[in-house]
Each structure stands twice: as structure tokens, then as C-alpha cells.
């Protein structure tokens, strides 16, 4: 298992604004790490830097403390599976999977056997003589994964592995990637712009904005302890109340809220929709609101509330049961102290 370490890694493109500057990250061995960020955040650049398909302007990249900056892509042992599969259309499925072995000079019989074995692992046994054009998108994705795994890489790099798949194929592919990654114990880096993809796949997430590491941690950290409003918004946070800290209370236009985290420079408090509760009587951290909209979301209900004291403040809450409140009726919301995130 290989630890990948990025030290002050810098890659700039003179023509476009995209760049990664002085990037530091230690990617733990044998786990899945997601590089998450919107387009232009530099996540794909980082992946290509690790793969050796791009050379950094400066900085260092090590696999198990050995610098690989000057190692060409084909000798690096970091295999990348591209987003749109890129299964070679002029080769059969079996030849595609055996491609990396052929390049390494593995004998024909051996590489064919290994290709067959790995195709069985991705549930494509018996497909070796098919043409890629005969496969569905999901099957091509599995060929691409098998083709990368068969070379037994030190580091597996996956570029948006779930983004081209529909909902049920996503789940299948997610489970497959997880089980193969655990079986082979490969250090895996996944690049994605989709926070859901990152959360369900990764053991830890590195969130990038504008070529910089914004937050690094386990998936749950990004929901429970986002470091900024931008992070909270990227992970689906919608409720933000402006204000500032006064001693132990957070002062806002709709009243004072007790918070557990006393961050002095804070300018917002936030709460996730599922943590907002109805209150029966005015106590600590309650807020008078009027129901604006109620939407049935299939498995839960979503409510949008307008604060009585500040009509521009809209809060969203979700509940698995119908609250039996009609639109424009008044209600009292409770924002539990321990769930309030201070930003």
C-alpha cells in the first residue's frame, strides 16, 4: 500500500486562469480519497499530476517517500481511468483489458488469462471477444476499471467514475469500486464535482476551491463541521442566519441563539434542514415563522419558512412526517444549540 504525498505542488497554465499553487496533501494508503470541487478547481489537474500526465512547475510528489516527479507516466505505477471510459474501439474487450500487460511485455497466454480473471471480478466473464461498441456505458466503465486494475497499480486514479451512470448503475458501480478497492488494497484517488459521489465513495474528502485545499476530512465532517459558508453551501446547506458573537450568544436580527462553538470572527450560523424542529413554546433558540411552502419530496416533506421578524430570512426544514400546518399559518421553530454550526 502506497502513501501519496503532495508537497508544495504547483502547476500553472499561463493562458487560462486555472492553476494549482503550493498544494499540500497526504493521501493515506489503501483508502479512497476524493478530490472534490467545482469545475476549474484544479482537481483534474492534480489527478493528472499524480498520474504523471502533467509535470508540475515546482513542488514534490512522493509515493512512499520516493519522489516520482521525474518518473514518466508509464513507469509510475499510478493508473488513471478516464471519465468517458476511453475503451479503445479498435481492440476487443479482452485486448483492452490486457493492454497494460502487453505494454509491459507479459506473454500472450498469461495476459489473456489475467484479463479473463479480472473480467470475472467486474462481472463481465465471457465478454473478452466482444467489441467495445457492443457494450453499454456501465459495462464500458467496468472494462475501464478492469483494465486499470489488471496492471496492479500502486495508486488507482478514477476520474468521475459514477458521473455518466444512471441511479441504479451508480449504486452497482459504487459497490464494485468499494469492494475491488478493499480486495486489492489500492490507494485510490477519485476526482469528482458531485458531493454525493464523494460522500458515498470516499473514506476522506479533500475539498478544493480555486486550486486551493479548502477542507480535508471524513465525509461527515463536511456536514457537521464545514469550515466556511461556501463549504456548507457546496454540501447542500441552505439555512444561513447573519449575525455576530456576543459573549456566549450569537446575536442576529431574529434574536439571540446559544451556540456550542464560540468562534470569535463568526458572521453566520447555519443549520441543516433535517435538524430544525417544531417547538411548542418559546424557549432558548426558538424562532417565530410563517409557512411559505410545503413540498412532498417522495420520501420526506420539505418546508420553507419565513421569519416573522425579518421577512427576507427564509429557512428550510425537512421532516419525514407531515407536520399538518397549512401555508401562511404561524409556527415556532427550534434550532437546537448542539446542531447550530457557527461559520
Amino acid at each position: 500500500m502506497t502513501i501519496v504525498k503532495l508537497t508544495n505542488l504547483t502547476k500553472t497554465y499561463p493562458d487560462s486562469g486555472f492553476s494549482v499553487e503550493n498544494f499540500n496533501l497526504e493521501i493515506p494508503a489503501g483508502e479512497i480519497t476524493a478530490l472534490l470541487g467545482p469545475s476549474g478547481s484544479g482537481k483534474s489537474t492534480l489527478l493528472k499530476l499524480i498520474a504523471g500526465l502533467l509535470s508540475p512547475n515546482s513542488g514534490d510528489l512522493t509515493f512512499d517517500d520516493v519522489s516520482v516527479v521525474s518518473t514518466p507516466a508509464e513507469q509510475r505505477g499510478a493508473v488513471m481511468a478516464f471519465q468517458n471510459n476511453l475503451v479503445f474501439p479498435w481492440l476487443s474487450v479482452g485486448e483492452n483489458v490486457a493492454f497494460g500487460l502487453k505494454m509491459r511485455g507479459v506473454a500472450k497466454a498469461t495476459r489473456q488469462q489475467q484479463a479473463r480473471d479480472i473480467l470475472t471480478l467486474v462481472q463481465l466473464d465471457g465478454f473478452e471477444n466482444r467489441k467495445p461498441s457492443e457494450l453499454s456505458g456501465g459495462q464500458q466503465q467496468r472494462v475501464s476499471l478492469a483494465r486499470a486494475l489488471v496492471t496492479q497499480p500502486k495508486v488507482l486514479l478514477l476520474d468521475e467514475p459514477l458521473s455518466n451512470l444512471d441511479a441504479h448503475l451508480r449504486e452497482e458501480m459504487r459497490a464494485l469500486i468499494k469492494s475491488l478497492q478493499e480486495q486489492f488494497e489500492i490507494t485510490t484517488v477519485v476526482v469528482t464535482h458531485d458531493q454525493e459521489e464523494a460522500v458515498i465513495l470516499a473514506d476522506q474528502i479533500a475539498l478544493l476551491f480555486d486550486g486551493k485545499l479548502h477542507q480535508y476530512g471524513q465525509p461527515s465532517d463536511f456536514y457537521q463541521r464545514p469550515v466556511s459558508r461556501r463549504v456548507a453551501e457546496f454540501f447542500g446547506g441552505v439555512n444561513f442566519i447573519e449575525g455576530q458573537l456576543q459573549d456566549t450568544e450569537f446575536e442576529t436580527q431574529v434574536g439571540q441563539f446559544s451556540v456550542s462553538n464560540l468562534k470569535q470572527a463568526a458572521t453566520f450560523i447555519s443549520i441543516r434542514p433535517e435538524h430544525i424542529k417544531l417547538a411548542i413554546e418559546t424557549t432558548e433558540n426558538t424562532l417565530e415563522v410563517r409557512l411559505l411552502e410545503r413540498t412532498f419530496m417522495g420520501t420526506y416533506y420539505r418546508y420553507r419558512w419565513q421569519a416573522e421578524q425579518a421577512p427576507t430570512l427564509i429557512l428550510t426544514s425537512t421532516n419525514t412526517q407531515d407536520l399538518s400546518i397549512r401555508v401562511s399559518e404561524k409556527a415556532l421553530l427550534h434550532l437546537p444549540k448542539e446542531q447550530l454550526i457557527v461559520l
Binding site: K48, L53, F82, K102, M103, R147
Partner: protein, 265 residues
């Protein structure tokens, strides 16, 4: 019935293509063929016998033609491949100008170009040499080769190369196992273009070769102007043969290949 019409149609097309060659074929075997006779009144193989005798210099001309056209095609592809790749894959400042300059040799009369080149080649000692002739043949072949390959690269995904590198292919292996299989139909077409263009060059070969470099068209013209119809006809058929062979090869290989590529995409 439907099948019959289809075959009749194909037969008509074949006849239309081959019809102009029929008189040439007959001429190559005719001794006496005067108006109003529909077919020659006397037959002979004198034309063919002379063409293949040592006096006709056919072996020399055929060999030099094959060599010049072969090397010209090869060089055209070697130069046209990177040029076509740059034009097909990249956007850069002045691209339209480069494209125009690439095409210019097809617009400017070859004679004008060759006159200027001739002066330079005399100074460089390239005039009257086979290398000089090959170099000047590149002038008309390169635009076609580059444009055919540029078209091929316009539909080429370079990420395939990155994917191959990442899977462990060296740069050379990437060219051999990824680039060439991807653009192979374009390479064949471009190579054949270059071969045929070079094969049928007359003025450029005459000017730069100065008569010392003898190719098939030069030999053919000398017999045609001397009025010897039998030998001219026999040589014409030999001259046309490679074009027909290349046409058959391309029809056999390229159609099937293109279909599978189109499906692949």
C-alpha cells in the same frame, strides 16, 4: 428482378469507368486500325514486345517511378502527420494563414513554383537528381496529405494517448498501438493520394530531373509525341495499373474498416 436491376446498374458503372480504356487496350494490340474499321484489321503484339524490350527503357522508368512515388508518399506522411495533427487538434494564432499557405501549392501553377525551385536546386546541386525530384514532388503531395490527416485528427480524442501512457505504454508504444490504429484509414488514403499525385507528375519531373531522371510519364510522353500508338497504348496501361490496384486495395480495406470505426464511435 430487383437484384437484376442492381447488377445491371453495377455493370453500367463498371462499363462507364472502363470504357475509355477499351480503345487503349485495343490499340496496344493493333497493327492496322484505320477509319472506318470498327476493330483493327491486323493484330500484333509489337507494342507490348517493344515496351518490354531493353530498347524502350521501360524497366528503368518503372523502377524510378516506383521509387520516387514510394519515397515521396512515405516522406509526405512523415511530414504531413505532425502537420495534420497540429492543424486537426490544436487552435493557435494564425491557423487560417497556415492552412491557406498549406493549400497554396494546389492553387499556384506547378510550373511557376518549379521554375523558382529549379534555380535554387541548381545552386544546391539537387537539379537533375532523384532526390531533387522527390523533394519537388512533395510540393503538390503535402497539401493533400496534410489536409486528409487534419480531417482524421479532427475526430481523434488525444485522451486515448494519455490513457495508454497511464496504462504503461511508452511514447513509442503509444504511437504504434494507439495513434496508428486510430488514424490508419486516413494514413492509407493520404498515402495513396501522395502516390498517385507523384506517379502522374510530368512537368515537375521534367524540369527538376532535367531528363536524367526518367519516370513513366516522361517515357510515355516521348512515345506519344513520336506518334507510336502501339507502344504508347501499352505503356499507358502499365502506367494506369497502379492506380487501379490502389483503388481495389482501398475499396477492400477501407470500407469495412470505416464501418467498424463508425460503429465504434
Amino acid at each position: 428482378m430487383k437484384r437484376l436491376t442492381k447488377y445491371a446498374g453495377v455493370a453500367l458503372i463498371v462499363l462507364g469507368v472502363l470504357a475509355p480504356f477499351i480503345p487503349i487496350l485495343i490499340w496496344s494490340f493493333a497493327r492496322r486500325w484505320y477509319f472506318p474499321a470498327v476493330l483493327p484489321t491486323e493484330w500484333s503484339i509489337r507494342g507490348w514486345a517493344y515496351a518490354f524490350s531493353s530498347a524502350s527503357r521501360l524497366p528503368q522508368a518503372l523502377w524510378q517511378s516506383l521509387l520516387i512515388s514510394g519515397v515521396t508518399s512515405l516522406l509526405s506522411i512523415l511530414i504531413g502527420l505532425p502537420a495534420g495533427r497540429a492543424l486537426g487538434l490544436h487552435k493557435f494564432r494564425g491557423k487560417t494563414l497556415v492552412e491557406f499557405l498549406m493549400l497554396a501549392p494546389t492553387i499556384v501553377p506547378a510550373f511557376a513554383v518549379a521554375m523558382g525551385i529549379h534555380v535554387v536546386f541548381i545552386r544546391l546541386g539537387l537539379a537533375d537528381t532523384m532526390i531533387g525530384v522527390i523533394l519537388v514532388h512533395l510540393v503538390p503531395t503535402l497539401p493533400y496529405v496534410t489536409l486528409v490527416l487534419a480531417g482524421m485528427f479532427a475526430n481523434y480524442d488525444v485522451n486515448y494517448e494519455a490513457q495508454a501512457r497511464s496504462l504503461g505504454a511508452t511514447p513509442l508504444q503509444t504511437i504504434w498501438y494507439v495513434l496508428l490504429p486510430s488514424i490508419y484509414p486516413g494514413l492509407i488514403v493520404a498515402g495513396m493520394f501522395a502516390f498517385i499525385i507523384s506517379w502522374s507528375q510530368y512537368i515537375l519531373t521534367l524540369l527538376i530531373g532535367g531528363g536524367r531522371v526518367l519516370t513513366l510519364p516522361l517515357l510515355l510522353f516521348s512515345f506519344a509525341s513520336s506518334g507510336d500508338n502501339n507502344v504508347t497504348a501499352a505503356l499507358s496501361i502499365i502506367f494506369i495499373a497502379p492506380a487501379i490496384v490502389l483503388l481495389i486495395i482501398s475499396a477492400r480495406y477501407l470500407t469495412g474498416r470505416n464501418v467498424s470505426l463508425a460503429r465504434g464511435n
